[in-house]
Symmetry: C2
Subunit: 416 residues, 2 copies
């Protein structure tokens, strides 16, 4: 057959996604499949079974990353790789992560059904702990595999109950023997839901992000003076929560002040002693700043930091700020991004050249190999929630784009 | 001897307070003696031992309130009562509550030492669970004794681990047989630290509150829309924490807007899902409003409520408000308050006619009997914290005022 006419099986993709969604299903219609839990193990077991049904060579590395290799005609050529992650947020959705793994599986099943050989091998991958919601930070195992993070440091991460990453990896039987160490990859494609409202708003089916925005994380610690609220006049109070309220609004107005092209968020707050009749004397909160323009984000932080310090000084609330994590914006491979756009056009799907506001395993893979992502619309822009949804038509469309991107890269002789 | 020259023993009072402060002592110099814990039991056992050393008749009622009666010449006359509470806040101080119980004990020891008889009996009391920080609400057992709260409802209050009040009362062996039911009381005096900065600021030793301010508690629940922060533009967000930040500042500015004579505080906040990369979609926070002027406080709440609803509407964050608890301001008995001021003057201590911003067991006792309180300065206005402190000289001064107030009331024939 003419490869141009090849299509994945949308119905099979849907039923595969639905079968996966039963593992860790929540009453609210989402899934809770936190990394290295029993639900994660159950989903991994099913995934490995499906890989074996395709006669793929399954490799599990020491970070629990699961690879399945489909041979190419030239086994000495670097493979094309595609995948994402099986783990979810607490009360997360049925598409985030898993769509990219099941989408790649559907591509391999399609090639298998039609007996299509490729020049290069194809690797499908499930990266352990992309979400980082049980063990921080996020994307830890693609980070180790790419050489950006240390394995033993990752092993020592603990969850809220103090359980170690490595111990939980062993407990569910997914600490493999293979080293978590990068090998040459010809091209990496990650298929994912957009997790934002832009594709839907613009009426597009396929998004081709030119890369991932920068990500700057800060932790702010404020001190106030605790006192019984009744006998303590307003004047002379040092209320750490009131200071925080002012600061949260400064964070919120930051993007408009910088002229847009940026988001800034306070997602997490801890207040102490958190008693209704005691003036708060300790607050911790986080700041998350993202932009395609690293300099703009740094400039914004300088301004914000000044504001926070001014508020703290005026209110007599000592402040301590940690610059917790900074990842520069990460531009994907221009040729591969163009290939995503070209394939969308060839398949008749309206597409958009955009940016990714979220980090993905593709961020680390982008340090190892030419990388691109394929986005499909999130209904209402909702993600990391149980109502997260992408239409089955769009799931199918994205998988078809993935199919042709993989095929073209896998039949290239040299680097793209 | 001329009773006018009688003084308590300041050194003994200090060593008594120091001995009590060892029970539940915290590394930070405070005490943690939460109600109905082992520490509470230990302190109660010591208190009861001290009562028995004075040959007082000890009664423990079904709420665990501990009374010690010193007989008067006329056992048919209503007694004078004085006391406070032995329990503490988590990481609380060494003076809150316990000073009023040990102060009254020191008064009885002084009368005992000098063989002084009074016309009326004198009751000393430790009220169970004044703080309300383990089992809400506060002042529950004086409330039951006064007939303002139901015993069985109080029994069913649970702590954060789900343990019932009654079960814990039984566990520590302090569920007594006597009914928790008021008897006629001629006068009730409660000696307490101020827990605010006013006496210190004004250079006064003794405070005579004309009563307790009103106390209005509200609970506010906000909903937003959770989304991954990176891919969700600022525009169109419904961030429940940003809405809360605006509301907290409205609460803070309320007293100034109403022309003072009021405090308003947000002490408690819960944010969900409280993850640094998810837009908050649920927040609960509390509002505490206190004033001597009930109408002003209600008027303030009307204005604030309107503001909160406007903010919620503008931000598209549905709001739900509960009016949780309202206690009217409680004026003490004017003659007894004057007696506190007169005794302070006679003893040479500078004094201040003021209000109490905090609730006390005296609030409920005020419904049963003529009531007054005696305040001594809190250094730096600090209370409900480990560094809570009152000078030993001031502790002694307050106990001397208490001594003479009790003596005068206990030697009165009729009601004051």
């Amino acid at each position: 057959m003419d490869l141009k006419n090849l299509r994945i099986d949308g119905k099979r993709l849907r039923s595969t996604l639905e079968e996966m969604a039963r593992i860790g299903a929540t009453p609210g219609g989402g899934v809770q499949r936190l990394t290295l839990t029993d639900e994660d193990k159950q989903a991994r077991d099913l995934f490995v079974r499906w890989l074996k049904e395709l006669d793929l060579k399954v490799t599990i590395d020491e970070m629990g990353n699961i690879f399945g290799r489909r041979p190419g005609r030239s086994s000495d050529l670097a493979p094309v790789m595609s995948g994402s992650h099986i783990d979810s947020q607490p009360k997360g959705g049925r598409f985030d992560g898993i769509l990219g793994v099941m989408g790649a599986l559907e591509v391999l099943r399609t090639l298998h059904d039609h007996g299509i050989e490729t020049e290069r091998p194809i690797d499908i991958v499930d990266w352990t702990n992309e979400e980082g919601s049980r063990f921080a930070p996020a994307m830890v195992s693609s980070g180790v595999w790419a050489g950006a993070l240390e394995r033993d440091w990752a092993y020592d991460r603990t969850d809220i109950e103090g359980k170690r990453f490595e111990d939980e990896l062993i407990r569910i039987g997914y600490k493999g023997d293979a080293p978590a160490k990068k090998w040459p990859v010809h091209a990496y494609y990650e298929y994912h839901i957009e997790q934002g409202p832009i594709l839907e708003r613009e009426g597009k089916t396929i998004g081709a992000p030119k890369g991932i925005v920068c990500l700057h994380w800060y932790d702010v610690y404020l001190e106030g003076e605790a006192n019984q609220v009744g006998p303590t006049p307003m004047e002379g109070r040092h209320d750490a929560l009131c200071a925080t309220a002012e600061m949260i609004l400064k964070v919120e107005e930051l993007p408009a002040r910088m002229g847009g092209n940026m988001v800034a968020t306070v997602g997490e707050i801890q207040n102490y002693p958190n008693s209704r009749n005691i003036i708060p004397d300790k607050v911790h909160f986080t700041v998350d700043i993202r932009s395609w323009d690293d300099e703009l984000a740094l400039d914004a932080w300088d301004k914000l930091r000044g504001d926070l310090e001014t508020i703290a000084r005026r209110r007599g609330c000592p402040i301590r700020i940690e610059e917790t994590w900074r990842v520069q914006h990460s531009p994907f491979d221009e040729k591969l991004v163009q290939r995503v756009l070209d394939n969308a056009e060839a398949l008749g799907y309206p597409s958009l050249h955009m940016v990714s506001g979220a980090g993905h395993d593709a961020s680390y893979m982008n340090q190892v190999a030419p990388t691109a992502m394929i986005f499909v619309p999130s209904i209402g822009g909702r993600s990391h929630v149980e109502v997260e949804k992408t239409s089955w038509e769009d799931c199918e469309a994205g998988a078809n784009v993935l199919l042709h991107c993989i095929l073209q890269s896998a039949n290239e002789g040299g680097r793209p």
